[in-house]
Amino acid sequence: MNKLEIHGISKAFRHNQVLSDLSFHVKEKEFVSILGPSGSGKSTLFHLIGGLYEPDAGDIVLDAESIKGRKGSISYMPQSPSLLPWRTLRENVVLGAEVQGEIDKSKAEAMIQKAGLGGFEHAYPHELSGGMQQRASFIRSLLSPQSLICLDEPFSALDEFTRLEMQKWLLDTWSEHQRSILFITHNIEEALFLSDRIILLTDRPATVQQEFDVPFSRPRDPSIVLTEEFLKMKQKVHAELKVMT
């Protein structure tokens, strides 16, 4: 069954066509990455799914129900952690759930421990490192009741070491909770390492250029990025990117 279906959506801001006849789907418990150049309208896509704007044409269907222009249907992890500075870690991770009106404190507590943030429950965001803030932000989206999680380039601001660590952690955490994930990135390696399927977008106006099935079995070890198979796959995606430019 398909979790999310995007049916031919288009969106223009004034005379600037950002998305044009874009269609794809995300299956139940699937990890799908949207790969595209910077400024290709990936964030606009998320804003449409999140209901901040309505598409000019097409439909967005979640669990067989149109969510066009309906806010709060997905759980969201933004590019910057956006933790509220006056809330402690524990108060921050429940924010998404709080907005929807259902807080599970013991679950939050357990997740904080699992994420290696034990002992920091009462710390304020500015007292946490960049990686810790991103973990908190991801826990916040996991604790939100919505079944689809949308991540918008969550690791792009992190340094290389932290990013690798976070990718591994994200995979581990996701495999435990098995939610559907839609992940935006402009990093080919990241997309290949994390996802089941990659959707490559064209430049503006964005539409689907090609889909790749990622053949690597799970659980994945970070060392697979050095295998020949992985590199071949990376070349394949890269070649498509070249065709585009």
Binding site: G50, K71, G72, I74, L84, W86, V99
Partner: protein
């Protein structure tokens, strides 16, 4: 405590030096008492006259606190209302700025004509003086809320009310407190001005009586207490601010 001594000894030294020059010059140059009394003379009056001005002081403190409380409430309410209803803000905000170009002191006689010499016109003056800095600071605080927080909240499906209560209000707290601090000192000034216009009690009254009878030492005593009152108010608000915004580390606003 150490820090206070370390930072404070220089200004304290200058202050003592100035007081000494004042004291010595008024003794040696024979400046008449009614023109400029020596600091020791003022101190003596402050001690001896306590019984005479204590009721005045108390009345001013009461007037100031009540006026400040109402003024802050009105300021916060106006800011919230104008923030939540953008159309109203567009219509009213310019007028609000314009109204601040009317010196309060010229309004005072009008208020006396309309409301007499009771407490009401005095409170109105203090509220008028107080509410503007609070309203402006609060509105600025609301509007400066980082867009990424609001963006997250919208994506998470928060209502306008939730965004206001959970994000904009706490974000604006430090701004609100800077408005409160300014207003706290203004409110003392407002109280004294309103008492000058006609009252039977208050530091302003005490001051008018003292100056018309050339008791310059008493005028200085009044000035000293007005200063102290402003300072005390200011410190009180700072303490409350520290408690309320304890989360605020140096990097919290990054």
């Amino acid at each position: 405590m150490n820090q206070i001594i370390q930072k404070g000894w220089r200004p304290a030294g200058v202050l003592i030096l100035l007081l000494m020059i004042w004291e010595l010059s008024s003794r040696w140059m024979g400046i008449p008492e009614w023109l400029l009394p020596a600091p020791t003379a003022i101190l003596e009056e402050a001690r001896a006259g306590w019984g005479a001005y204590a009721p005045h002081l108390l009345s001013t403190i009461r007037l100031t606190t009540i006026g400040f409380a109402i003024g802050s409430f009105v300021g916060l309410a106006v800011a919230t209302l104008l923030h939540l209803i953008p159309r109203l803000r567009e219509a009213v905000y310019p007028l609000l700025i314009l109204s601040q170009n009317i010196p309060i002191i010229v309004l005072a006689p009008l208020l006396v004509i309309w409301f007499g010499f009771g407490v009401l016109p005095k409170l109105i003056i203090i509220v008028l003086v107080c509410f503007f800095p609070i309203a402006v600071a609060t509105m600025d605080g609301f509007r400066q809320t980082k867009p990424e927080y609001i963006h997250y909240m919208k994506m998470a499906g928060a209502t306008k009310r939730q965004i206001f209560r959970k994000v904009e209000w706490p974000y604006a707290l430090p701004s609100i407190f800077s408005g409160l601090k300014i207003s706290a000192t203004y409110s003392v000034m407002g109280a004294v001005i309103s008492e000058w216009l006609g009252a039977n009690k208050g530091i302003g009254v005490y001051m008018t009586l003292a100056s018309s009878s050339f008791r310059t030492d008493r005028v200085f005593v009044a000035i000293f207490f007005i200063m102290m009152l402003s300072l005390l108010f200011f410190l009180l608000i700072t303490q409350i601010e520290k408690r309320v915004t304890r989360w605020k580390g140096e990097k919290a606003y990054e």
